[in-house]
Subunit: 281 residues, 4 copies
């Protein structure tokens, strides 16, 4: 068998014959299915989601499939994409003062755990500049004294050089205008188990409520703050012994793990998102 | 050393000399400290919480301590209680149609895992009657067609015969009047990770939001619905593959485990509660 | 779409065209794929595992597929099976004195969480007889004073009436002769995180070693004691505060959860086992 | 109240009056107890363990306590130590090629999560040198071509400059001679859930066995390889989808978290170890 891998993501109204048509297409095109995941949101009237990993001889074969596949897509009125895994997603990173998430991402990336390219790190503070330089990546300092100006600068830096952004504890809310202008996926890590404790200072909120678990949530950013489609969540047990400060430290551990998990899934084309939710294969 | 165990629960403004005074008192009264847990909510201005397990020769010794201990309590303006563990808490159980939590509690109780007495089970439906009879416990059917009447009946059954109540998926909201009239601890299991998804049908809410974890929360009941002091919480990973119905089933597992854990801590005098939070040793 | 569901389990040497051939077959037979899971143990030389859920109009259609599907099976030299989900697996249960796992299984079964039929419960003690009768199931007392006789009796009771057995803390080792004569799947719950603490009294072993987690393992029974293919495992944090007795109680919680999870997967035809491992979809 | 904190660790045969004597001593010495944890390994014949955090006006007061406390120690034939928290433990780190644990420790240390000083990092490869320099710490390259020579060099570097060592995936076994000569605590991270999969290549062992959870274990090093007292353990769910390589990557996450947790407990004087086990407060 051959070693070059392509990923097909496919989404349409559920109906008969989808898998037969697609596997027939791949077979005709000398592609061997190496992994397949599918999901139907409802057995009767639902949406059908499919991710197929297939192997072919070279990347040209993958590129060449897109044209002929249009017919299959139209037959089922599907949204679909074909990605060669050799073409890594370029994910820019935004950070503020705290570096635990950034450090974790960069270390994983450097040892090959995250199949992304990192075109830049932007900070609205310079605290993380030397860490970024340690990994030989460009760091841009874009202070947020004037927010409109800052977003304009970020857009210029990111628009063409990145396929998506990661907010690694970037403590600014990106405006609706920016989101529209940028127009690509942005992954955020929120430091609570959403929908609990939306908004500012969630660890303080958690402490005051006396919860026995704290959590973190990685989600795609939408205009509705803290309401975007959730990708990954996790929690950790806490007790009365933990101060609000302890919660913050314990939470930092979950934040970095959950964000890395979300970025990894995104990098491996394992997420299909819709307006409110995600399918994470 | 001796085998009869007493528990001292103690709470006051933090200040110097508390442990020295109490351990001196116990030493004078021929009691040996077998376990001790303490907590201070804030090192400067906080509240001090203490739980001491001590062994003496017989229960009379424990009863006899209460008088002399008044002096220690007054010295520190403390709230305190001394419990002989031989005197089990009598916890009545309220249930509706679903029996997974009730079944779990009764089985644990029957094999000695929960150090409580169960004076009765009250159901506003009869679905669980035969299970309760299997464990040779009295079952009272108190329908809630007239809520005021129902609460009156429950109060009559429970007021003198129980030291507390467990709501084992009892799908009724107890009125403020009832809470005042009953005046003892009531433990509820809420089928979400509070403060997420308060109110009705939390699994449907969780499904609609697309969360990746679902949870359950055991808490003391107060007049503020779903706002009482939290005792225990846990969660379980879910995915896009799980329907709202699956969430309910998976959630049932967490509900019964979390409720049992809370009841066990309550039974073992390991909880000190205040208006909004709990210290769980 | 139609409501009757069949499950195809399929296993062969990995090669091109498998999914295309099978989905083509199902499409021709008016079956709609409602779920599909596949796994390849190694991208180059591995074994291919497939589970497909499909819907048809009635069970007769499922029965009628088996003949024609032989050709597909032979084409790929596959092991395969087609199960109508309406035909529940008949799982007999064996138990000794302790009933926490049995109680959990029976309660889940009674509320529809486990899609099995339970033809009988066999105990080598009578402790659980009344619980079994509470669920209106037959209980057979088969003491193990003479082990050969006991296994003969169990074989007679189980051979034709069951499709598999569940050892719900059955504290006897079934002989190789019995396993051969019975010849169907047997699921056991071992009270440790295998391969740690094989053999007798694992909680005592865990206590003596001072581990900080204890676990339980559900596995298929083979002649190699505690070496059968693992289906499910879980653990729980413990500390120096927990006595060997506490470990046993905490472990009981994991045992029942893990066993129920394994039985559920087995009931839903979600496991493909080979000599040493399982694929659990 | 005062801000300077001291920690008393105390261990003796359980007997009456210990807490009374110690709290009396502290009260006499103007020390206020701010935290207390105790444990008795067995209510009858066991060992008593105590950790008390107390506040005084200055470190001199803590130093001055040691002399007078001797009397209390002798009274109960105790092993004890008094540590001012201002005097951080100096923990040297040993590393090989892989840096995920080292990177995690250094980042936590740099943001104040680990209350240790790091006098040096020693590597038997140079892969991690630049990371260490990024944190402005000394890196010593001590290759292990000649093991005896290497241990001699490490001993020279570490003997006086460190209070303990952390093996952050140091892939060498330290000899009994080294352990004796160094004579202080050494914390190792083993990449399996001990006692499962001792020895080399545990992830391969785990993959071959088909386990559904993998884990990591932080323990003190003793001459018995992989048999030292366990400090912390954790696990992660895996499935048939995970290759041996995936297990290694997933395991890396647990390794770094568990090692950091163990180092933090050690740094905060929260561990009392004996020959085979630990008490971790």
């Amino acid at each position: 068998m051959s070693d070059v891998i392509g990923i097909l993501l496919f989404e349409c109204q559920d109906q008969k014959g989808i898998v037969a048509a697609i596997s027939h297409f791949l077979s005709l095109n000398d592609a061997n299915i190496v992994s397949a995941d599918q999901h139907c949101s409802d057995p009767k009237t639902g949406t059908f989601y499919l991710r197929i990993g297939f192997s072919v001889d070279n990347d040209q074969q993958i590129e060449a499939m897109r044209g002929p596949f249009e017919e299959v897509g139209q037959l089922f009125r599907a949204k679909w994409a074909i990605h060669p895994v050799s073409r890594k997603r370029r994910m820019g990173i935004l950070v503020s003062k705290q570096g635990h998430c950034l450090n974790d991402l960069l270390n994983r990336w450097s040892i090959g755990e995250l199949a992304i390219d990192i075109p830049f790190v932007i900070g609205n503070h310079t605290d993380q500049e030397s860490l970024v330089h340690h990994y030989d990546l460009p760091f841009y300092y874009v202070p947020t004294t004037d927010k409109t100006e800052a977003e304009k600068s970020i857009l210029e830096l990111a628009k063409d050089s990145s396929d998506g952004l990661i907010l690694a504890r970037y403590m600014q809310i990106l405006s609706g205008n920016f989101l529209k202008a940028y127009g690509k996926d942005i992954i955020n890590i929120h430091h609570s188990f959403l929908p609990s404790f939306k908004g500012a200072n969630p660890y303080k909120q958690a402490y005051d409520r006396g919860v026995k678990l704290i959590g973190a949530t990685a989600h795609y950013v939408t205009e509705d703050l803290d309401e975007g489609p959730i990708i990954a969540q996790d929690v950790q047990h806490v007790s009365h012994r933990d101060s609000a400060e302890d919660l913050k430290e314990l939470g930092g551990d979950i934040e970095k793990t959950v964000l890395a998990r979300a970025v990894k899934k995104h990098a491996e084309f394992k997420i299909i998102r819709n307006a409110k939710k995600t399918v994470v294969f």
